[in-house]
């Protein structure tokens, strides 16, 4: 298909790889922020092909993984209530809460439904006026316009039985948290192309100035990723630190103005805890006063939540790029996709799941001399 096949062309990929080898004079550490990109890199073996020229470090861009445990426990408590239809993207169903997951709530009789779009959840609410329909609004800036539109649609239809359990998070504060950590070794970033499709990339200029790192807005196909890596490396080799846009076929500097207006209409920025990382200032979105009535957290009083994280799960370090998944002693032993200790092992964007699925078990790094 157009816009897919060209960007999976192995001949173009090889040219980019050859050009990368000609460009690099020393090894560089680059973080891809988005978990979807992590999976494409590993599925296509790009992480191994670019070694040892470039070490790819995987970032926190897995919304399912960073959703706070307390909110997951709240979701489980709401989903178990009689009369509730709890709707969610499929990725969320097997994410472990303190002692349960949504799949088990459903097995015990809870009405938990996977939907493709939050707009489908509004339709379910319209068709079930006697039931309370909740949508678990998890996701980055890419997803927030769809949930905003859902709540606008529900309000317009006069639906009083629809609400959102909101856990939206924002990418730039997470990048800043990683850059400002004393242990950070990241020298450049691939910014997530679909987040920037919605909100643009103007916020990144302050980060490239302050932290002197290149940030390249990058797409999702193998050729996109290789070009994004090459553009980042060129900047590093030339001592530049700029915002560049590899994914210009989808991303404009100011993003999508209609989508941004929807976010402004429905949400306001708030501080938010990230699972495994901690509270990041101004890193989340919550419903504003006008849409407060659609907030599931106020509609359902859920008391007495005591969160319990498995102490052996090191997903917080994985999410910050401090360790690779296979460096966790529980990886592929006590923690597997069938019996996950943490969310990164079950999410389709989790780094642990990618390492498990594509066979990146502990093994020596392929060695290849850096061309002089």
């Amino acid at each position: 298909m157009k816009y897919v096949d060209e960007y999976r062309d192995p001949v173009l990929a090889r040219r980019l790889l050859d050009e990368l080898r000609r460009t690099v004079t020393q090894p560089w550490a680059i973080m891809e922020v988005c978990g979807g990109q992590t999976h494409t890199l590993l599925r296509n073996g790009i992480d191994e092909l670019v070694q040892p020229l470039v070490r790819l470090v995987h970032g926190p861009g897995c919304p399912v993984c960073v959703t706070p445990l307390e909110l997951i426990d709240k979701a489980l408590a709401i989903a178990a209530q009689p009369g509730v239809i709890f709707t969610s993207f499929g990725d969320m169903l097997r994410v472990p809460g303190s002692s349960d997951d949504l799949l088990r709530v459903r097995a015990r009789g809870g009405d938990v439904r996977i939907v493709y779009s939050p707009l489908d959840a509004v339709r379910i609410a319209a068709e079930n006026p006697g039931r309370n329909v909740v949508f678990f609004a998890v996701g980055f800036e890419t997803t927030a316009p769809a949930t905003a539109l859902a709540v606008v649609d529900a309000k317009r239809r006069g639906l009083t039985n629809f609400s959102l359990l909101v856990s939206h998070v924002l990418v730039p504060p997470a990048i800043e948290a990683i850059l400002s950590a004393p242990a950070s070794q990241i020298q450049g970033f691939l910014a997530a192309g679909h987040v920037c499709t919605v909100v643009g990339f103007e916020e990144y200029f302050a980060l490239t100035d302050r932290y002197k790192v290149p940030i390249v807005v990058t797409g999702f196909e193998p050729v996109d990723l290789l070009e994004g890596i090459l553009m980042t490396v060129r900047q590093l080799e030339q001592g530049r630190h700029e915002v560049e846009n590899q994914y210009a076929r989808s991303v404009k500097r100011a993003g999508n103005s209609t989508a941004r207006a929807l976010l402004d209409q429905v949400y306001e920025v708030c501080d938010r805890p990230w699972r495994g990382i901690g509270v990041l200032a101004r890193s989340g979105l919550r419903l504003n006063a006008e849409y407060h009535a659609f907030d599931a957290e106020t509609r359902f009083a859920v008391e007495g939540i005591h969160t319990v994280e498995p102490p052996e799960c090191r997903s917080g370090e994985v999410l910050q790029g401090l360790i690779r998944p296979e460096q966790c002693p529980e990886f592929a032993t006590r923690c597997t996709p069938e019996r996950p200790l943490g969310a990164p092992m079950v999410s389709s964007e989790g780094a642990c799941a990618a390492y498990y699925r594509y066979g990146r078990r502990a093994r020596p790094v392929a060695s290849e001399p850096i061309p002089s």
């Binding site: 298909m1 060209e6 001949v11 040219r15 978990g35 979807g36 092909l49 493709y116 210009a248």
Partner: protein
């Protein structure tokens, strides 16, 4: 979750003022998608769809310009095009 899928606009549904929608074809599969955020999309355009909502109309000129640049990489380095691709070619 930030997965966005490119698809071809094959039909604009009657402009229901509140929730404009279109039929989008994704590699053979057709689906009705909300196009409220890309009101300019017309039949024949490609859009990126995420969670049932089109979030951008792909810029054909920009895409072609980038591909031309990529195809030119290595041309002046005597690259013959005979190197076997090392990347895993499976397209999933």
């Amino acid at each position: 979750m930030c997965l966005g899928v490119p698809g071809l606009v094959v039909e604009r549904e009657s402009a229901e003022a509140d929730m404009p929608s279109a039929v989008i074809e994704f590699a053979g599969v057709r689906r009705v998608v909300c196009v409220a955020c890309v009101p300019e999309a017309e039949v024949g355009d490609y859009v990126i769809v995420h969670a049932g909502l089109a979030i951008s109309r792909l810029d054909a000129e920009e895409a072609e310009r980038v591909l031309e640049c990529l195809r030119a990489i290595g041309e002046d380095e005597g690259w013959t095009g005979e190197t076997q691709p090392a990347a895993n070619e499976s397209s999933s």
